[in-house]
């Protein structure tokens, strides 16, 4: 019993964090800094226990912790920690406590831990539903600043998606009485030509593709990051993709790969659609958050394209692509927290006009992140591009490569427009002084983008070792 409690400490500590925040909110009126600090401390404690019991789980029947899950838990905790520091400055400026936001983020991390560790489709189904609800509550945070029509739309579409997922789940669980990933794999092997089983598996995967905003399931992808407040936009841009990609890659390896002959083409169609919609959509937008939301669609398209080859090397390349893309996007979001004028955070492209004259450090940080996004060496994005091209050439997918590279140029144009606005347009706004902590995080993000490409301490090989545990 004690063992089980010990192994559940990563989740328990986050739960305690939530209770602590609730008590703080009820008993005293603290500043946003105190709230975020509390959340960060409990997040670190949770991470510490995750590392300590990296291969132990409180219920081995339903959950399995490995280096793979630890890798994603660390990444989610790292990016969440940065997000919490940055969000503190946003809440301070807006004069809000941010308690609800922090509680929801910590809850989301608990669910993500469970989703990552689970090897059971019942938990998967429940976890996804809970996470969708948390996401809905996050989208609902608007402080009356923006029209909050995204939340109801999100819960509406998510409900349909969850019903579809439930249909797939029902066939597998009630009809075949199977709920373990390995059992599903065996089931597919024994009845590979069962059309209903195939459809059920597809219905189990679609919700994750929808949550990642991949075309043609990109209904709310841009609204989630474009219309929500900055910390929520940050959460949807950086944290949820990690959670969902971690699950998709795991499902891919565990049992989806059994349908690789049929699903490969479907993944490729989704990938190419996402690449096309993402690149063209980014050029048609003038809101920075939306530009990057479409950029994400393009990059996620490439990740699903790499996953469509269903082999060890392409899976790792897909993961590396995700990680390096997220590092660059993290740098961009750090910059967003520095873009404010008279206490108002802005997100339109024109607001960047002339920023290079007044905010040289922020502009340089933004430039480095954009250079990484357009895969210029020696920045991290180059490694991602290298891995992607390497994999597509190895698979002799020349047409896909040509398409991906062509739309990469289209996407690059939208990023270059941002640089053009920052440098060439006349200054139209007086920018506020940057917060020290946001400046520090911006600098840290920039250093990471540069440093990782040098492969310090053979970090890429260490990550690969952790990632490859999923095949054991």
């Amino acid at each position: 019993m004690l063992n089980k409690i010990l192994y559940a400490l990563p989740e328990i500590s986050l739960l305690i964090g939530i209770i602590h925040l609730l008590f703080l909110h009820l008993l005293s009126n603290e500043t946003p800094k105190v709230y975020t600090k509390t959340a960060r401390i409990w997040l670190l404690i949770s991470l510490f226990f995750s590392i300590l019991f990296y291969n132990k789980s409180f219920n081995p029947t339903y959950f399995e912790n490995t280096s793979y899950t630890l890798l994603f838990k660390c990444l989610i905790a790292f990016f969440s920690y940065i997000m919490l520091i940055l969000s503190s400055s946003w809440f301070s400026v807006e004069n809000k406590t941010g308690c609800r936001y922090l509680i929801l983020v910590l809850s989301s991390i608990i669910i993500s831990n469970l989703l990552l560790s689970t090897i059971n489709i019942v938990i998967l189904m429940l976890g996804y539903t809970l996470l969708s609800y948390i996401n809905y509550r996050l989208l609902d945070i608007s402080y009356d600043k923006y029209p909050s029509e995204v939340g109801p739309r999100y819960i509406g579409t998510s409900s349909i998606i969850i019903i579809l997922m439930f249909l797939g789940f029902s066939y597998i669980f009630f009809y075949n009485n199977v709920m373990d990933y390995l059992e599903i794999k065996q089931l597919i092997a024994s009845s590979h030509n069962n059309f209903l089983l195939y459809i059920s598996i597809v219905l189990m995967v679609i919700p994750f593709l929808y949550s990642l905003g991949l075309a043609p399931f990109h209904l709310l992808a841009e609204d989630k990051v474009g219309k929500s407040i900055l910390p929520v936009s940050h959460y949807f841009a950086l944290i949820t993709p990690f959670i969902f990609w971690a699950v998709i890659i795991k499902l891919n390896v565990m049992f989806i790969s059994s349908y690789n002959d049929i699903l490969s083409s479907a993944f490729k169609v989704i990938a190419i659609m996402s690449v096309i919609f993402g690149a063209t959509g980014a050029n048609a937008r003038i809101n920075l958050h939306r530009i990057y939301a479409y950029g994400s669609m393009y990059h996620f398209g490439i990740i699903i394209l790499l996953l469509s080859y269903f082999n060890i090397a392409s899976n790792f390349n897909a993961f590396m692509y995700l990680l390096l893309y997220m590092l660059a996007l993290n740098g961009i979001y750090a910059v967003f927290y520095n873009l404010k004028s008279h206490g108002d955070f802005f997100s339109s492209l024109t607001s960047l006009s002339g920023i290079s004259q007044t905010k040289p450090y922020t502009t340089r940080a933004m430039l480095i992140s954009i250079f990484s996004l357009i895969a210029l060496p020696p920045f991290a994005g180059f490694l991602a591009e290298f891995g992607m091209i390497n994999e597509l050439l190895k698979e002799k997918s020349y047409t896909y490569l040509a398409l991906v590279l062509f739309f990469f140029l289209v996407l690059a144009k939208s990023y270059l427009e941002i640089i053009k606005t920052a440098y060439f347009e006349q200054k139209i706004k007086k920018f506020d002084t940057e917060n020290k902590s946001t400046l520090f995080i911006t600098l840290l993000s920039t250093i990471l983008i540069v440093a990782i490409s040098f492969n310090p301490f053979n970090i890429i090989e260490k990550i690969k070792d952790m990632f490859d545990v999923i095949y054991l």
């Binding site: 290079s356 430039l367 180059f382 140029l409 920052a422 440098y423 347009e425």
Partner: protein, 474 residues
């Protein structure tokens, strides 16, 4: 294990970092950033000269090699190597920037950005010249775009906003094509191969055509040849800062060097039959640009036309079916880079004085500035072939070889060279002509003593090179 080549890349990189860390220009001494950059470039030049001393100047080929482990997955080791040719280019580029730093007006806005990007450019271009395997070659080829984009964003004319996007897209297309080709070679050979063996890769079929045409287009994207001529001329005409002008004038050097390194012995057979078409395109571009320079009144454009014509001359020289020209091109490029550095600063100085004196035209302006006049005259004469620099002797050999290869090609190469020469001399004559000089208000200033001494020292150095190209190697 030697680390000299890595040091040559690393010193400017550190300099760039230190420049960014210097105290803010507005509140503190503006000389901080310049001092950092001058020290950085001086130290780097000393290291380069030391590396030269380790060379056997009689020997051809790579003489220093350094190997660094980078990635285990996929397995990639990076190789740095240098021969006399690459070291000559590194020395000339570092010397040029050192001269440029001393020449420069220290009261420029955003000097931190300028100097940090300049040092970053120097670091990457040094890396490009010492890259000895296909992947490190690509890394440095593409990475140069980063400081270039920053500099062009910061210093290009504000009225030409789309230049940046076009320039960057051309660069990205070029880099992308090179990356795809390099990865195909990497996958074919199952390893990262030395640069000088890339020309002998035998893949066969359409893929081989794709590789060579991609590599070809990648290098062409850095040279002002049709259809890539627009961006570089648009950028050059929109840049007023002489240092950024110099940097943009060095971009074609990267394309040129790429051709030299990828095809060290001869043009790969796959595309050798297309070489005459390419030569015709080069000659047409040369003629076109030289004729425009004859019409254009702007001295900076004339200098740009001159650099373009000479870059294309060297490019045609590279495509000649002989190996003997490479060393000549190296010696010639060394003086050529130093000469265009000084010319770009002298022309900038004249432009600034013209502005100060509120003159409509620069005709007769040199009559007010005897030192500038002397230096400009000497360097223009040196640039067009006055037999006091190695430019004269080596260009003579290159042109002779072209004549030897094809008489008509030789005539058409000679023609634009003569035209740009005439165009530069005509402008020089106008600026020196006393008939235009009006002594009513002389508010400008002549070249400072330091700058004058530097010009003369450079000229003496070039004169030594005329007699012994590697006189500085002991």
């Amino acid at each position: 294990m030697n680390l000299y080549l890595l040091l040559i890349i690393f010193i400017p990189l550190c300099g760039s970092f230190f420049t960014l860390c210097t105290k803010n220009d507005r509140s503190y001494n503006t000389n901080n950033v310049y001092n950092v950059s001058i020290w950085t470039l001086s130290v780097n030049t000393s290291v380069i000269l030391y590396v030269f001393s380790l060379f056997d100047i009689e020997k051809q080929g790579i003489q220093i090699i350094e190997k660094y482990s980078w990635l285990k997955y996929p397995p990639i080791d990076l190789l740095l190597g240098a021969d006399i040719f690459s070291m000559l280019l590194i020395l000339s580029v570092n010397l040029s920037f050192l001269i440029a730093e001393i020449f420069m007006d220290k009261k420029i806005e955003r000097s931190k950005t300028l100097i940090a990007s300049e040092l970053l450019f120097v670091s990457f271009i040094n890396g490009y010249f010492v890259a000895a395997d296909i992947i490190s070659f690509y890394i440095f080829f593409a990475s140069v775009s980063a400081p270039l984009i920053i500099l062009i964003s910061s210093y290009a004319n504000i009225s030409k906003k789309n230049i940046l996007v076009r320039f960057s897209l051309y660069n990205i297309i070029g880099a992308m094509l090179l990356l795809v080709s390099i990865i195909i070679i990497y996958l074919h050979k199952k390893n990262n191969i030395p640069l000088n063996t890339a020309g002998n890769v035998n893949i066969g079929g359409g893929l081989e055509y794709f590789i060579w045409f991609s590599i070809f287009l990648a290098f062409i994207s850095r040279l002002p040849i049709w259809p890539f001529h627009y961006w570089i001329s648009a950028i050059n005409s929109s840049i007023k800062n002489p240092l950024v002008f110099l940097i943009s004038n060095l971009i074609p050097l990267m394309g040129l060097y790429g051709f030299i390194r990828f095809w060290p012995n001869s043009v790969p057979q796959t595309i050798s039959m297309y070489v005459p078409i390419f030569e015709v395109i080069c000659v047409v571009t040369m003629l076109f640009i030289s004729l425009i320079s004859l019409i254009n009144k702007d001295m900076k454009y004339k200098l740009f036309a001159y650099t373009t014509v000479y870059y294309l001359l060297y490019l045609i020289g590279i495509f000649m079916p002989t190996n003997v020209l490479r060393q000549n091109i190296g010696y010639s490029l060394f003086s050529y880079i130093v000469i265009i550095t000084i010319l770009s600063f002298l022309i900038s100085h004249v432009d600034n004085q013209k502005k100060k004196m509120d003159m409509y035209s620069s005709a007769g302006i040199l009559c007010y500035f005897p030192r500038t006049s002397k230096c400009l005259s000497l360097f223009i004469l040196a640039s067009i072939g006055l037999p006091i620099t190695p430019l004269f002797w080596n260009n003579f050999i290159i042109i002779s070889e072209i004549f030897n290869y094809n008489l008509i090609l030789g005539v058409f190469v000679m023609l634009p060279i003569v035209i740009v020469g005439v165009s530069l001399l005509e402008e020089l004559y106008k600026q020196k002509d006393k008939a235009y000089a009006t002594s009513s208000s002389i508010t400008g200033s002549d070249l400072s003593n330091t700058n004058f001494i530097i010009c003369i020292t450079c000229l003496i150095g070039l004169l030594f090179s005329f007699f012994k190209p590697l006189w500085f190697v002991f």
